[in-house]
Symmetry: C2
């Protein structure tokens, strides 16, 4: 699998991942991804009210959420959150050092960090890591880049989409890490703290494209893609202090994308496709997950209400344990929908699991439970709720809740 290649598939990008000793495991823990020249960029960050120094740094570099930058330094193993002024200086130093080594200003480099909260970065290791990564920058097929951003992720997650523009192929590529403390509510500045019903892990996504697009329309397309991709994922309802998604455009392929044009829509669709693929991959690779769960709510009074219901179900520990156990316990789906603040009328509500109606407009269906059990034994579960009230719809992505999740998070020691 040429995983790393994805991030450097679009023309004009260089990347490298190294092991610098932040992670006790000794695995890759620092990556540098940069344009060969300045790139058009957009960044979305967590809407948690407690944020890490790297998030503050990104907001300082791109106060409007978009602008021209050179690239990003990402590390795993330590999130540099709740580390006070020194943490902010550390994040700034990472940007400055990486910038200097690639010939850019400090304020042209973003920083993203993931890992334990409340501990200072081991800066001597980080410095040597940045030097080694910049030394190793290249376009070669090296999985170390995506490995360097992973924490409890079990799989390297990447996606790519291609679109024809002005007779050329434009490529959009991306990598993502997620696993636990995942319930992103990514937003542009100013941070929209608290507008989500149950917003929730650290996800870091880095996307690259060789499209010719200015920062503002790039930001608009990215922001539009987030609600139905990254922000539609909840692994454990716990929103991270460090969620960061960045997209960078080198402008080396295709014709200039004019906002509002058909080309702009096709580019936005390709960007949304990559965001969505990364989001679904993140849900499937949640901590301890054995199954991907898709919760499809239709017929809500509004789309916002559909989202509230979808999140209530996707965040229900009881429902997720039932799916883990392969138990067609649809009563838990109804209980979760009913506890949400969105309008639900049981007599209008219908529920299907894997396409099999288990509850239709208030009436339990006599059904072949064995058939639903067999379906639940698979590794992808689709749950559909039709509220029967309106046209609002939303799809949330989550995973089952396993004893492994508890083990990972009871043992992930401070």
């Amino acid at each position: 699998m040429a995983q790393t290649r994805h991030i450097t598939l679009p023309q004009g990008f260089l990347a490298a991942g190294v092991k610098c000793g932040i992670k006790e495991s000794g695995r890759e823990d620092l990556a540098v991804i940069v344009g060969q020249q300045m790139v058009s960029a957009a960044v979305l960050t967590t809407s948690n009210q407690v944020v890490g120094a790297p998030v503050l740094w990104c907001r300082k570099v791109l106060p409007a959420g978009f602008g021209w930058i050179r690239g990003i330094v990402v590390n795993s193993g330590c999130s540099n959150v709740c580390t006070g002024r020194q943490g902010e200086r550390d994040a700034a130093e990472m940007a400055a050092l990486a910038g200097r080594l690639v010939g850019a200003e400090p304020a042209e480099m973003l920083v993203a960090s993931t890992g334990i909260i409340g501990r200072r970065l081991p800066m001597a290791k980080v410095r040597s890591g940045i030097r080694a990564a910049v030394e190793a920058l290249g376009r070669r097929d090296d999985p170390a880049v995506v490995r360097a951003i992973m924490t409890t992720d079990t799989r390297q997650k990447s996606a790519v989409a291609r679109v024809r523009m002005g007779g050329e192929t434009v490529t959009v590529a991306g990598i993502v890490k997620g696993a636990g403390m995942i319930c992103p509510s990514l937003a542009g500045p100013p941070p929209r703290g608290g507008s989500r019903p149950g917003a929730c892990a650290t996800m870091i996504a880095v996307l690259t494209t060789d499209a010719v697009i200015a920062p503002r329309p790039l930001y608009a397309a990215f922001k539009k893609a987030a609600p139905t991709s990254f922000n539609a994922v909840t692994i454990d309802s716990d929103q991270s202090t460090s969620d960061t998604a960045v997209v960078m455009a080198s402008g080396l392929a295709g014709s200039r994308i004019v906002p509002g044009s058909a080309a702009a829509r096709r580019f936005a669709a390709a960007l949304a496709e990559v965001c969505h693929s990364l989001a679904v991959a993140m849900a499937r690779d949640g901590e301890g997950a054995t199954k991907l769960i898709q919760v499809n709510v239709t017929g809500a009074v509004t789309s916002r209400q559909a989202e509230i219901v979808a999140r209530a179900v996707a965040n229900s520990p009881l429902f997720k344990c039932a799916v883990h156990g392969g138990d067609p316990n649809w009563g838990r789906i109804l209980a979760a929908a009913g506890k949400s603040p969105a309008k639900v009328r049981p007599e209008r509500l219908s529920v299907r699991i894997g396409g099999v109606a288990v509850f239709a407009r208030g009436v339990p269906k006599r059904l072949n439970l064995r058939r639903v059990e067999q379906y639940l034994a698979g590794n992808s579960v689709l749950v559909e709720l039709d509220l029967g009230l309106g046209k609002g719809r939303f799809t949330a992505y989550t995973c089952d809740l396993s004893a492994r999740y508890v083990a990972i998070n009871a043992e992930y020691h401070t």
Copy 2:
């Protein structure tokens, strides 16, 4: 342990619990608790929008939430939820049969059921159970009553308080079941669907007292006690379709309680004390729980905001796994507080675990982690968050999240 005795300690009550075969385990599964005469009563039920037939029945018997009744029939093993009109007829039949056997009208008997959703009650068994229970009614010390309302509960939970009134001792007693799908948001009619941030298991509480108090002031005192007791508990954020709490007053001890009097306040305090004891016992006995966790939030802008933050922390799977693992990972507390929609400013925020400051006004404390680890090895954990913004305060009760919780709920088969 004279557990059952509690419910019949106040004068004027009879109770019995029997095994009638609803539970596959063959354990006690049906209880009848009645006054020897008509009793003053108040009932609070779930605010879930999907409710069981027994909840609908209780609302029909006591449309205002209070009135005169004779008693209650409770069964475990089947919740009679999502069972349509037939389910409603079954609940009504339970009330009618129990009523007839004790010499009361159907509309003088409440019904509460807990267990699997979506399955009809095995009425032949239920009928024989009601007959056997009424046959066995007494004031003797028989733990079968509380056992009959238990599902995944591991302990018999009861409480008692005494207060002097008019030269006599007035007793307030109660029993409760909880365990999983516990995040009650009990309310009087009309149901207040959806006003809670993360309202969540089936709890059934039955309280008795021999106080002389009319239904309306009894309801007022009960309703006032709920937010800081039952409704302050969350085991898994999953609110049940069947939560029911009832209090019955026989009027056989002390002088008549006049609303607004000092005596009324003392009675209310005793009632609140029993509710609180039952609630804390329920949190400690959550499914898979090894520790009781108390989350104390102070310094919020309002008490409502304090509640939102306390619930965000108490419902955080990551925080609860950390406590389970005895890991002083305070970063997860901050992340949970920050994701809540209530106002939080990290630089004003302080966190203490077991009285040890781990984070003070934005600054991590250099601390003796070993000391906090030792504290977390105990079976009761106090977490205090001072938001530093105002005078709002709230205390939520929960338990740790263990692999056992997952096992129970992945294996609890339909």
